[in-house]
């Protein structure tokens, strides 16, 4: 036998060199379970992948081929750090559909709106700064805020979106604690994960509260054009918020997420800093992808395509809501989205979504535990269901499986009584973006 060592091995030579913020990046058993969710045997109501089956791939392929043939030297070259000027003009036309008047000079194209989130946080947030976010909030935003060591303070929501009174109270509490909130992060339309939409009358009120408090609004609107019932509600940015609102948009849900093209609309002074930050991060957003999006918007009936997407998502939303109504056990409740991808379920009293997940995976159905959407480790009483990707029949089958799992868990709770919930980091409870 070899000699016994006096010091151990850690399998990572850099353990004492990582930044403080890296220490929370650990393997998670919940996240590992999503590896099973990606198998076809499992009905995954977990992922948020847009369903691209309705996309006219022939036309998109032709358009991209022609782009390389006719403008390859430009499309494959570095571009402006702020993004392609023509695409920025087209983005202004897209935003006009939600009532936003903007100059293309104030638009910065980003690598998905996720990079816009990163840039805005990088530019505004020092470690320890407070960021206000809805309860629950988008997990990708929470991960970004965590990476910059922000303190996230959640603000309550109801079926009509962010609650203005709760925003006032939270702001007062933050100020009373001697802390400074840098911005309110909000997803006003077809919220991820809550599925709710901030009603029109509350939009003015939320903006006014933030303006009075000197608080910037970070309005993240990837789903705004995916409404099932009529035209979109005008954005917060469209309501006199041009100096106080940073607006994030994306082509991931209206066209194709693989192209990673999003944007941020910002007041002029902020925009300049965002461009410098973007150049430091990626030099420029992918030129080919930007030109492809611009070409798609210019030559294809993209709004007709969005209507085709929403018709598909509406059918799936209906299937999910019908199945939930028929199958969920007593004590469960859920939101009723009028667009977007998600339904937010509140479990019968005492059930813990994170503890449920292994049993659900055994039953071949997956969801995202609510803990993924809270920075403070709460959220165990909720889960997010996505209806965007599976076919309606699969959705119904998934809910049938889920209902059985919930019933078993109710029995288990009846046996053992209430138990304390464990907390976990948000990103540890959510799937990677490619696991639908």
């Amino acid at each position: 036998m070899p000699p016994r060592p006096t010091s151990g091995v850690r399998l990572d030579a850099f353990t004492d060199r990582y930044a403080q913020r890296t220490h929370a990046m650990t393997a998670s058993e919940i996240r590992a379970l999503f590896a099973v969710a990606s198998r076809p045997e499992v009905v995954s109501l977990a992922g948020g992948m847009p369903n691209l089956s309705a996309l006219p791939l022939d036309a998109v392929g032709k358009l991209m081929g022609e782009l390389v043939q006719t403008r390859g030297a430009q499309a494959l070259q570095y571009g402006s750090g702020q993004g392609d000027p023509h695409l920025r003009e087209l983005i202004c036309e897209v935003m006009a559909l939600e009532g936003i008047e903007a100059s293309s000079e104030d638009v910065v194209v980003t690598v998905g709106s996720q990079q816009a989130l990163d840039l805005v946080t990088r530019v505004f947030v020092d470690p320890g700064d407070v960021v206000l976010a809805e309860a629950p909030s988008y997990v990708g935003a929470l991960s970004t805020f965590s990476a910059y060591q922000a303190e996230v303070v959640h603000v309550a929501m109801d079926e009509q979106g962010l609650v203005p009174e709760a925003l006032r109270e939270t702001l007062a509490a933050v100020q009373a604690a001697g802390k400074r909130a840098k911005f309110l992060y909000t997803v006003p339309n077809f919220h991820n994960p809550a599925g709710t939409t901030l009603v029109e009358q509350r939009r003015d009120e939320v903006l006014a509260i933030c303006q009075r408090a000197g608080l910037m609004v970070l309005e993240d609107n990837p789903y705004g054009l995916l409404g099932f019932d009529g035209p979109p509600t005008p954005a917060i940015r469209a309501r006199g918020g041009q100096d106080d609102v940073l607006y994030l948009g994306s082509f991931s849900k209206t066209f194709a997420p693989g192209l990673r093209v999003g944007w941020v609309l910002a007041p002029h002074a902020v925009r300049e800093k965002l461009v410098l930050a973007a150049e430091a991060a990626v030099l420029c957003p992918p030129t080919f992808n930007q030109l492809a999006v611009a070409e798609y918007l210019s030559t294809q009936d993209w709004q007709g395509q969005v209507r085709a997407f929403t018709a598909m998502y509406r059918e799936r939303r209906d299937a999910l809501l019908d199945a939930l109504r028929q199958q969920m056990p007593a004590g469960a409740s859920w939101t009723h989205p009028t667009g977007g991808f998600y339904v937010w379920v509140t479990l019968p009293s005492g059930l813990d979504a994170k503890v449920l997940l292994p049993r659900a995976v055994t039953a071949r159905v997956a969801f995202v535990p609510g803990t993924a959407f809270f920075a403070d480790g709460t959220g165990n009483a909720h889960l997010r269901l996505s209806y965007c990707y599976p076919e309606p029949d699969r959705i119904r089958e998934g809910v049938r499986r889920l209902a059985t799992v919930l019933q078993e868990e109710v029995e288990l709770r009846n046996t053992f009584g209430q138990t304390r919930a464990r907390t976990s980091a948000p990103q540890a409870s959510s799937p990677a973006p490619d696991l639908a």
Binding site: G8, D12, E29, T362
Partner: protein, 332 residues
């Protein structure tokens, strides 16, 4: 076996440990290819039986490499953890398909996979394992959880380790120091399986011993000592590089090192295992070896214990796996 032999590594599956298995499979694939072996990596799915005969992959998931050139495989290495990969079912299918595989046969896998059965057999072989109680959810429901849990604490004392009777990667496992924490531990455990193994928590040096048999009888490789920085060797400590400190070989005196090696080989033999296994144990301060469990499809990821032991023994991981595949193929 000629140099043109073709081997298949199976990884993935539908158990809770799919992610770990995929990592094991990729590492095994790399190691075997580094040793010059011709090898494919494949998920265990509905296309498996056709693939074993060399037919092109056609199902979803299918091959994780570009395998399937029309020739049958000479032997299979199962890197599936949990579920069908460890409960004997997959081995049974490989046997009826006439495909040689590395490791224990289906009956021995079934026994090792069921921790209470394995504990009973190692006890019968004269080895030690912590006292325990095995109970399904129904027992608590029918007899009253409060009364049963109270009796359980009185019987075994505290602290306790609660784990699914079948399972791996510490999924569903909890240590319990206070009676109040026991119900939550049971709920977490039953999320992963139908029966709970509640074991007296023993303290000492935590070690894993790899047992290999390349044709001249089972032998123990140097024991790997596990010191998780968080104090508990849970999922995060197992699969986050840097979260656990390992001492290879373990910091045991000669007598204790011999005792744990002997116990591991004895357990491997008592359970009727073959080729390789990993035995997890605690060496108490007085030198008593308490066997915790025996794994027939041990983890082979970048942070797993078996590859560390192989390395400490001065062996090549890829060479050893290839030898075991050649041995399986010759066995037929």
């Amino acid at each position: 076996m000629s140099g043109s032999a073709r081997y298949l590594v199976l990884a993935g599956g539908l158990s809770h440990e799919r992610d770990v298995s995929l990592r094991s499979g990729r590492r095994v694939l790399d190691a075997l290819r580094s040793d010059g072996a011709e090898v494919d990596l494949r998920d265990a799915d509905a296309g498996l039986l056709a693939a074993l005969t060399g037919a092109p992959a056609d199902g979803p998931g299918g091959t994780l490499t570009s395998g399937g050139d029309g020739r049958p495989y000479d032997a299979v290495l199962v890197a599936l953890h949990g579920g069908a990969g460890e409960d004997g079912a997959l081995r049974e299918v490989l046997d009826i398909a006439g495909v040689p595989h590395v490791g224990a046969g289906p009956a021995a896998c079934r026994i090792a996979w069921d921790k209470p059965t394995a504990k009973a057999l190692v006890l019968r072989a004269g080895l030690s394992t912590p006292p325990s109680v095995v109970l399904p959810h129904a027992a608590f429901r029918e007899l009253g959880a409060g009364a049963v849990l109270d009796r359980l604490v009185t019987h075994l004392g505290l602290p306790l380790m609660v784990k699914p009777a079948r399972g791996g990667s510490a999924l569903g496992c909890s240590t319990v120091d206070k009676p109040d924490d026991l119900p939550a531990a049971m709920v977490s455990c039953f999320s992963y399986g139908q029966a709970a193994l509640v074991e007296k928590l023993v303290s000492g040096t935590e070690v894993a011993v790899t047992v290999v048999d390349t044709g001249d009888g089972p032998r123990a490789l140097p024991p790997v000592e596990i010191v998780p920085l968080s104090g508990v060797y849970d999922y995060g400590a197992r699969y986050t590089a840097g979260a656990t400190e390992f001492f290879v070989p373990a910091r045991l005196d000669d007598a204790a090192a011999d005792a744990v090696a002997g116990a591991a080989v004895a357990a491997h033999t008592a359970l009727g295992l073959r080729d390789l296994s990993r035995v997890d144990a605690i060496v108490e301060d007085d030198g008593t070896v308490q066997l915790l469990e025996v794994n027939t499809a041990p983890g082979m990821t970048e942070t797993s214990l078996l590859p560390m032991a192989v390395d400490a023994a001065g062996l090549s991981f890829g060479r050893l796996l290839r030898t075991l595949l050649e041995q399986a193929a010759a066995r037929g």
